[in-house]
């Protein structure tokens, strides 16, 4: 388990990370999302002990990560920029890492490289972007990490490579209970694989939840009570004419209309929605599950007001 408590970080007087708390459970695939410049990379750098936080603690299974080789040997970090690896071949890097990581498994590297069809004697800098990432993943999985920290690892890679890498992550998670923290802009993809989501804006956490809980809390509704008998569509049909707010019993976060159809974003349980339908008896009622992207945009929108 990774526990981040009251962590802040400033650069040249600019508060990049502002008093954040994060909890990553063991075996979780934890998605870190946020707008550009929100502080994701800074957070990941602090998680790996590459950057030191100004205040607060970052603990891996109760031990501080900063300058702690015992933790760092069980951790593999893939940054967005792979410049460090450039001049070396996969074989040279394998030799280097085999001495640094006690759980180094050459057989795993062999299998993964075969699967990816990479040339072991080619310099990393001479590979395509996709192959470079594959190489770094292959090397990483061979170290048998308990923690995998990824900074936008697969954004910009082709679908086949992405699928391969997700399989590796899921297999390691299922087989060894590996914990993954991954940041990405591709919310649609993250939604398919993460069990927890942490959303950052301006260095602050504005969502940190189990993904399914997050999605079952907020709903998008399409409701109509029918249009005016005379032919012109009312905003809320006959209900509006009586002057009663039909939605008063719902926790409405946002509302807009198109003709006689109302669209609402509500925070209510399924039972509360069932009760609403039974009492108000709308002509049209559709509950549309929100995607992670929509929840993110909506929450961000609300927060910025």
């Amino acid at each position: 388990m990774i526990e981040v408590k009251s962590v802040s970080k400033s650069f040249d007087g600019l508060r990049a990370i502002d008093n954040i708390d994060m909890t990553v459970n063991s075996g979780s695939i934890y998605g870190l999302v946020g707008t550009n410049g929100s502080g994701k990379t800074t957070i990941l750098n602090m998680l790996c002990g590459v950057t030191r936080q100004d205040t607060g603690t970052i603990m891996f299974d109760g031990a501080r990560v900063y300058e702690n080789p015992a933790i760092k040997q069980r951790l593999w970090y893939i940054p967005d920029d792979l410049a460090f690896y450039g001049p070396y071949t996969i074989n040279e890097l394998a030799r280097f890492f085999s001495r640094m990581f006690p759980h180094w498994n050459a057989a795993i590297l062999d299998v993964t490289l075969q699967h990816f069809q990479l040339d072991r004697d080619k310099r990393i800098s001479r590979m395509s972007k996709g192959m470079r990432k594959q190489a770094v993943f292959a090397l990483g999985f061979a170290t048998g990490p308990d923690y995998l920290i990824l900074d936008e690892p697969i954004d910009g890679l082709d679908p086949l490579v992405r699928q391969c890498i997700w399989e590796l992550i899921v297999d390691a998670s299922a087989d060894r209970g590996m914990t993954t923290v991954i940041s990405s802009h591709n919310l649609r993809e993250m939604e398919g694989f993460c069990d927890s989501i942490c959303a950052i804006n301006h260095g602050k956490v504005f969502i940190e939840r189990d993904l399914d809980d997050l999605k079952s809390d907020t709903h998008k509704l399409q409701v109509s009570f029918g249009s005016n008998v005379g032919g012109t569509a009312d905003k809320q049909g006959s209900a509006a004419r009586t002057g009663i707010d039909v939605y008063r019993d719902l926790n409405v976060l946002k509302q807009w209309s198109s003709g006689s159809v109302d669209f609402l974003i509500v925070r209510n349980s399924q039972q509360e929605l069932d009760r609403f339908v039974a009492t108000a008896k709308p002509v049209l009622f559709d509950r549309i599950p929100l995607t992670l992207e929509e929840i993110f945009i909506y929450e961000l929108d609300r927060g910025n007001k």
Binding site: V170, A174, R188, D212
Partner: protein, 148 residues
């Protein structure tokens, strides 16, 4: 194999639960047969193992599967399961949607009603001769009643 649609608005968790329920109720997963382990299934589908774990827990609490400690999870027989209201409501909704679509294609009310009747007949298990006689008698009484 359960069909997971990553593009669907339905969460992976819901899709896994629904997929397994369907397979158990239809007999694809035979009664008392062992389900793949959480590990195996998550690798087969390339789905987060925590999600599969949650789905298995929910299926157990809803009475679709039972767990033998140290061995694995097993399916109950369809007759020993009470299909939950959630599943019934969901399937009803889908049926209502399809009926609405069909109605738009068949403007004639009586033609539509007849077609729906026929469909219901094809879905019903075959009646025995005793049931058929009882049904015919009941129908005859209704026709006489309507005529008054």
């Amino acid at each position: 194999m359960i069909d997971i649609d990553l593009k669907s608005r339905k969460s992976i968790y819901e899709q896994v639960i629904f997929g397994i329920k369907e397979q158990i109720l239809s007999g694809v997963i035979a009664p008392d047969s062992k389900l793949p382990s959480v590990r195996e299934l998550s690798k087969q589908l390339t789905v987060n193992p925590n999600t599969v774990q949650k789905a298995f827990r929910e299926l157990e609490s809803q009475g679709y599967i039972y767990t033998v400690s140290g061995v694995g999870s097993f399916a109950y027989a369809p007759q020993d399961i009470t299909p939950d209201d959630g599943l019934i409501n969901e399937t009803r909704s889908k049926l209502a949607d399809s009926l609405r679509e069909l109605r738009l294609l068949i403007p004639d009310r009586q033609v539509f009603a007849r077609m729906v009747d026929e469909l219901v007949q094809t879905v019903e298990p075959k009646l025995t001769s005793v049931d058929r006689a009882a049904a015919a008698h009941a129908n005859h009484a209704k026709v006489k009643g309507d005529a008054r």
